[in-house]
Each structure stands twice: as structure tokens, then as C-alpha cells.
């Protein structure tokens, strides 16, 4: 187990300089999710319309992995159709299982190392679960 497999430079960059951190003024969907076992929290806002995620921002507290993952996720889903975003969430689940799906937003692939740290997988998936839930709520509207 090598720490550098987990904490790649691109992850630390997203952690230190998170993309899309903040709140949307007119977020049409807001999802609050937390990880009750460790206290990580995310509040994800998505502006959606016509089956497309137009914008996404997040606030929250968490470790480097959970915040970097939220940063990458929001960057990756902007402008994507719902089914494309959901497919990405599936790909991300597979990435956490040790598979090697490719992502258009390549930074995400840096999180592949999390797979070797099973205790941290739930940190990485929190933001993606929030996105999945937000789109499900958006589809119902």
C-alpha cells in the first residue's frame, strides 16, 4: 500500500483548489448527504433543465478524497445529459471496484488508487451518490 497511489498530485490539487465550491443562486435541485459513520457532509446544488445538468456547485466538509471527488464530479457533469451523468456515476462505482473505465474528464481516473484503500471508498463516492439522488429528484419534477 503506497500513499502516493492514493494521494496523487491531481487529487491534492482538487482538494486544495476545489472547482465549483459554493452555492448556486437558482439551483433547481439541492441534495444534502452525509456519511454518518465519519461525519463527512456534502450539499450539492444542480441547475437542471430539459434533462441536462447546466450547472453544479457544492459545499461541505470532508477529507481530501471526498472533497477532491466532489470537485471532479461537479466539473465532469456540467453540460451533461442526465443519462450521461448517471452513466458516469456507474463508471465511478466500477472504478472503485478496481475496474478501469475511461472518463472524458480525465482527472477522475486519478481516484483509481482509492480502490486499494477500502476504508476510503465511501469518502470518494459521497458526491456521486448525491448527484445520482439529485438527478432522480430532478427527473421526478
Amino acid at each position: 500500500m503506497k500513499l502516493d497511489d492514493l494521494y496523487r498530485r491531481v487529487i491534492m490539487d482538487h482538494y486544495k483548489n476545489p472547482r465549483n465550491r459554493g452555492e448556486l443562486n437558482d439551483g433547481s435541485v439541492t441534495v444534502h448527504l452525509n456519511n454518518p459513520t465519519c461525519g463527512d457532509r456534502i450539499s450539492l446544488q444542480m441547475e437542471i433543465g430539459n434533462g441536462i445538468v447546466n450547472d453544479a456547485k457544492f459545499t461541505g466538509e470532508g477529507c481530501s478524497i471526498s472533497l477532491a471527488s466532489a470537485s471532479m464530479m461537479t466539473a465532469a457533469i456540467k453540460g451533461k445529459k442526465f443519462d450521461e451523468a448517471l452513466k458516469m456515476a456507474d463508471d465511478f462505482s466500477n472504478l472503485m471496484k478496481g475496474e478501469t473505465p475511461e472518463f472524458e474528464y480525465e482527472d477522475i481516473e486519478a481516484l483509481s488508487g482509492v480502490n486499494k484503500f477500502p476504508a476510503r471508498i465511501k469518502c470518494a463516492t459521497l458526491a456521486w451518490n448525491a448527484m445520482r439522488k439529485g438527478i432522480e429528484e430532478g427527473q421526478e419534477k
Binding site: 500500500m1 500513499l3 465519519c38 461525519g39 470532508g62 477529507c63 481530501s64 476510503r120
Partner: protein, 408 residues
């Protein structure tokens, strides 16, 4: 006592984790088990296993003797007046739920008060929240001092003539605060309230005398005191337990069952519905034997020295924030390392073979009070040595270097 020699009695501690000899500093979550406890469990299943209080056969008698013998050990260990005052439970949580679910619901009515503190573990907070909601009683909190301790004058002010139950932990699993239980029991009794103590973090580390503390209820878990998981005990004063209704019904706890009415066994069995945790109780008995052979006073002194040693070294690390009082604290140190999230701290420490806890430690209200979303915690026990503390400090320095370097 010689911690290095004691460590050898714990097979699990003799292993490498991630290429380093394991340093286990998470005993406040669960302790490791000595070989004598493991052998007792093995022998029980190999030689004596049977159901208790039922069979006429020899194994049934042996299992019953072992189970009830363990109850005697628990009673003597915490100085209960009799074995009737010791109820085996699944652990501290179940024990507290029995007090909150039976006693508190029987005695509380609207206008009454239940008094707790903000340092409580969820398992000594939610049962009281629920009991307050169910009865219309008011839940009140004794405020915390800046270092997390409580003042007797605040206890005196919060506990009133309307208070029916005071519930608090003896030792905080986050702050290491040791509460003045005996003094608060006196205040509670003077105002006509009963006091229920969460002993999960105290029983493994110090001598407990429930008669001297004069607490009305006291809950403990075996797995934090070198025993197996899944077993604990509730101590309650006999006159209180006698008047309490069971909250679990089934086999074992009944006296006479009719189609529409049933009656209960006498204490302590009326609270032990179903086949009890026989092997667990036997394992708890073995853990008590083990701890008593070493001596609880010795263990407490060892942990105090070790904690002072570790605190001294940890304080010298830049940007470290240590929570809780610096004096009179139990053998655990909760901290945060600058901006590095405790999960990241725990992962780097784990890569160095050092096991600590990271998260909210089942104390979300306390985390909010500390203004921290999470913390890291190193907790010591009788098998930890100064070398373990050194390894922790070295790993913390590495963590700082790693994150400073990676982020910078």
C-alpha cells in the same frame, strides 16, 4: 507492570501492518483480547457448551455454572451487593436502553426532567431523547467548560427537584474527561433523582465501586475491557430493578405463562429474555480475571504515565490541536493536525502501521461543540508502551511532511 510483557499475551498485536509492526491505538473503540480470554472461549465451546437453566444433563449444569459464575465475577468486580443486581446485556448501549426504556418511561411524566451532558456518546444521548419524547419530560444538558469538563455548581443548577434521571458518562470517549460521579450522584439524590452511569470507557481502565459511587445504574461493555464483543452488563440497585418492567419478552425470563397473562422470573433473569450470551459472559469473566491479576490501579497508573508522555511529545508538533483537559484525563488523546482532515491523518498513520480512530466518535453534538466536523483519536491501554507513543508521534510528523509537501 511491564507493558511490553503484557503485549506478548495478545496474539493479534504481534503482526505487521503495511510493512510495520502494528501499533494499536484504538482501544477506546474496542480493546484487543489476551490469549487467556481466547482460550476460555475455545474451551467453553469445546467442553461445556449447552443451554443454561434448562437441561438436566451435565453439560447444561456446567454451562449454567460458568454463566452464573461470570455474573458473580462482574458483581465482585464493580462491588455490587449481589448478583441479582447484574443483568447481562449485549453491551453498554443495550444496558442504557433498558434503563431509558423501562425505568425512565415508568417514572417520567410531563414536567419532569432528564439531565445529561453534551459530551455523551450517542448511546447515552438518544435513549434519553427518546424517553423524553415518549413521556413528555424535558431533556436538559449540564453545560461544558471550555476544556470539556463540567462544574459541580452547574450540575447543582441544572438538576432540580423536577429531575427524575441524571445520566452521564464516567469517562468521555472523546475528551478524556473524568466526571465527578460520586459528587454528582450526591446532588442527584439530594434532589430526589436517580443517576445512571455510562461506564464503557471507565470500567476497562480504573477500579469501579458502584456502592462507593452510589450510582443507581451502571452500564459496561466487555469488548472494551479485553473481553469478547456482544456482551456487557447493567448494574442496577435491587429495589429499582425489582420495580422495573422487562422490555424484552420470551423464553428464559418467564415464571408462569398462560394464554392471556404471564409472570416474570425474579432478578436478574426477568430482564434476560431468550438464550443468553453464554460464551460471551464466560469470556467477560475471563477478561475480569485477567485485568484483576494485573490490577486496575496498576493499569490506571500506567495509562496516566503513558498519556502524559505522549501528550508532552504531541504538544511539540506544529499546528496540532489537542482537545480536552490537560490535567486529570483518561488514557486517550483526541486531536486535529492543522488543516489535514482526520481521515487523511488516519490513512497516513495506517500506512505506518499505527491504528487510530478518525471521525465523529459517535458524538455529533460534542463535535459541533468543539466546532470540528471530525477528529482523530489515539487511545491507550495496558499493552501500549512508550515506544508506541513514539511511533505515533513519528507518524504524525510524517503526515505533516507528506501533506505539506503534497499540497504545497
Amino acid at each position: 507492570m511491564n507493558a511490553l510483557e503484557i503485549k506478548k499475551l495478545f496474539p493479534i498485536l504481534n503482526q505487521e501492518v503495511n510493512g510495520h509492526p502494528l501499533v494499536y491505538l484504538d482501544s477506546a473503540a474496542t480493546s484487543q483480547k489476551p490469549i487467556s480470554v481466547l482460550e476460555t472461549l475455545q474451551k467453553y465451546y469445546e467442553m461445556d457448551n449447552s443451554n443454561v437453566h434448562r437441561g438436566v444433563h451435565t453439560l447444561g449444569t456446567r454451562a449454567t455454572d460458568a454463566y452464573e459464575g461470570a455474573r458473580e465475577k462482574v458483581a465482585r468486580f464493580i462491588n455490587a451487593k449481589s448478583t441479582q443486581e447484574i443483568i447481562f446485556t449485549r453491551g453498554t448501549t443495550t444496558a442504557i436502553n433498558l434503563v431509558a426504556g423501562s425505568y425512565a418511561r415508568q417514572v417520567c411524566k410531563p414536567g419532569d426532567e432528564i439531565v445529561i451532558t453534551q459530551m455523551e456518546h450517542h448511546s447515552n444521548l438518544i435513549p434519553w431523547q427518546q424517553a423524553a419524547k415518549a413521556t413528555g419530560a424535558t431533556l436538559k444538558y449540564i453545560p461544558l467548560q471550555p476544556d470539556g469538563s463540567i462544574l459541580l455548581e452547574d450540575a447543582e443548577a441544572t438538576i432540580t427537584e423536577n429531575t427524575k434521571v441524571v445520566a452521564m458518562t464516567y469517562v468521555s470517549n472523546v475528551l478524556g474527561v473524568v466526571n465527578p460521579i460520586k459528587e454528582i450522584a450526591e446532588i442527584a439524590h439530594r434532589k430526589g433523582a436517580k443517576i445512571s452511569i455510562d461506564g464503557a470507557q471507565s470500567t476497562p481502565h480504573k477500579k469501579v465501586d458502584v456502592q462507593d459511587l452510589d450510582c443507581d445504574f451502571y452500564a459496561l461493555s466487555a469488548h472494551k475491557m479485553c473481553g469478547p464483543t456482544g456482551i456487557g452488563a447493567l448494574y442496577g440497585k435491587k429495589e429499582l430493578l425489582d420495580n422495573m418492567d422487562p422490555i424484552e419478552f420470551g423464553g428464559e425470563m418467564i415464571d408462569f405463562v398462560d394464554l392471556y397473562e404471564s409472570t416474570w422470573k425474579e432478578l436478574p433473569w426477568k430482564f434476560e429474555g431468550g438464550t443468553p450470551i453464554i460464551a460471551g459472559a464466560v469470556g467477560l469473566g475471563a477478561a475480569i480475571d485477567f485485568l484483576q491479576e494485573i490490577g486496575l490501579d496498576e493499569i490506571e497508573v500506567h495509562e496516566k504515565k503513558l498519556t502524559a508522555y505522549a501528550l508532552d511529545k504531541m504538544k511539540q508538533i506544529d499546528d496540532i490541536e489537542i482537545y480536552g483537559p490537560l490535567e486529570n484525563r483518561a488514557g486517550l488523546i483526541t486531536f486535529n493536525l492543522g488543516d489535514v482532515h482526520p481521515h487523511d491523518v488516519a490513512t497516513v498513520l495506517d500506512s505506518e502501521g499505527v491504528a487510530v480512530r478518525a471521525g465523529h466518535h459517535c458524538c455529533q453534538p460534542l463535535m459541533r461543540w468543539l466546532n470540528a466536523s471530525a477528529t482523530a483519536r489515539a487511545s491507550f491501554y495496558l499493552y501500549n508502551t512508550e515506544e508506541d507513543a513514539d511511533r505515533l508521534v513519528e507518524a504524525l510528523v510524517k503526515t505533516k511532511e507528506y501533506f505539506g509537501h503534497e499540497i504545497g
